[in-house]
Symmetry: C2
Subunit: 226 residues, 2 copies
DNA sequence: GATTTAAAAATTGTATGCAATTTTTCTTTA
DNA sequence: TAAAGAAAAATTGCATACAATTTTTAAATC
């Protein structure tokens, strides 16, 4: 897959090299990827439109950051969208997809047992992606993945942080529960469990936030003013 | 409000000057708005990321077009999202917003009676926008408006077409019904009525499609190939 | 007359340069 | 030492130029 410049820059954010609030310098990005500023600017604008980064006229673009209230809203919205995908997927997934879902949960079981945080993060992506596809609705999938993209810098932090080790099994069990409901074709239950799953993720993330804030580290607040 | 270049170009699409499938020529757009191609390209890329136009490497960008199946999916997704907004708005709207909603319906009554199609289109935007705000969730509002944006070239066609005159009263009555449910705080009913409202819009749009297709006009198909 | 081929024109993708603005650094002052 | 101000550096926004590619037009062939 020929990684586009847009994707390369997005990856800097998604893999955590650039954190929320960090500036994106056009010149150094251009140098880094061996192109001129023009295509870099275009890529940055696109990422701005998709909400991953924030564009401020005459000022450097920065990785989009959310305060707690915004994170609450983002997760509430995502919970509903993911729940919707799960409900549709429960009714519409085909046999091949159902087999893949079953396989995914089995692999996830293993990963969870090995406490492989990096693999768990990938697994999380794949699990939700499978349901987005299974919902058989291009627009819904687009909406779900765009929403997901925006908060990825935060949800990814969950899986990478040390203190989350203990909880690594919980998302797996939740995924397994959702998968079971989906495979049984129980849209209602799949939907409810998914909502709870996302709500739980938010709680973990808030805890993470409070912890890092308490550790007197950079509060990484929004700072939209000045 | 200082219309940005991006907004100006978007407006060309939203007011129907550029129709789905039409090419966006960078040079002529630059000339038209008195700037160079560079900012035009940046604007086009942003609109591409938001899904209003389609970007094809080395080929002119074109206004995004949907075939019938895609339109079905888009409206299904939008129905759910709008229903969600309505449900939340029913519970969360404040007094000021409720008053504005009531006023809006009164004005809409008048517009519908006068068969003012252009005003009806604006009214439709305002009505849904009010519910997006009333849902008190920034992310949800963003998702709703992005979804709405993508299909605007199609839904706007509904209001502008002659044959729709007879049906102009129906969306108004549906809006009134939804507003009533919202004002009573009945989330469940607001949600259901909204879903029906969007489904009805799709049916009208499909009828419109079939009519224009029958009138042997340019079929305006997707033509993603070659 | 329709189809293929070749040339010309138009169009996109990117680099580069410069003015406008912001950010940083350095000085001055309280 | 801290705050304020001025100068310097860095950075963004935009125009322009040119190569690469696509699209259109014209010519040639069947």
């Amino acid at each position: 897959m020929p990684h586009t410049l847009r994707q390369k820059i997005a990856d800097l954010v998604l893999n955590g090299e650039l954190k929320p609030g960090d500036r994106l310098d056009e010149h150094s990005l251009a140098e880094r990827f061996g192109v001129s500023r023009t295509p870099v600017r275009e890529a940055i604008r696109q990422l701005g439109a998709s909400g991953l980064i924030e564009i401020r006229p005459r000022r450097s673009a920065v990785v989009r950051s959310f305060d707690r209230a915004e994170l609450d809203e983002a997760f509430e919205a995502m919970g509903e969208i993911e729940a919707l995908c799960a409900a549709r997927a429960a009714v519409r997934m085909n046999e091949a997809e159902r087999l893949r879902l079953r396989a995914l949960i089995a692999t996830s079981e293993d990963i969870s047992a090995r406490t492989d945080r990096s693999a768990a993060l990938e697994m999380d992506f794949e699990f939700h992606g499978l349901l987005h596809d299974g919902a058989r609705n291009w627009m819904l999938k687009t909406v779900a993945e765009e929403t997901r993209l925006k908060i990825t810098p935060y949800s990814a932090a969950l899986f990478t942080m040390e203190s989350y080790n203990a909880d690594l099994d919980r998302p797996h069990r939740q995924h397994a529960g959702i998968a079971e409901a989906v495979l049984e074709g129980d849209a209602e239950r799949a939907s409810t469990l998914m909502r709870e799953h996302i709500a739980q993720a938010l709680i973990s993330l808030q805890k993470f936030f409070d912890d890092t804030a308490a550790r007197s580290d950079a509060p990484k607040v929004k700072d939209r003013s000045r």
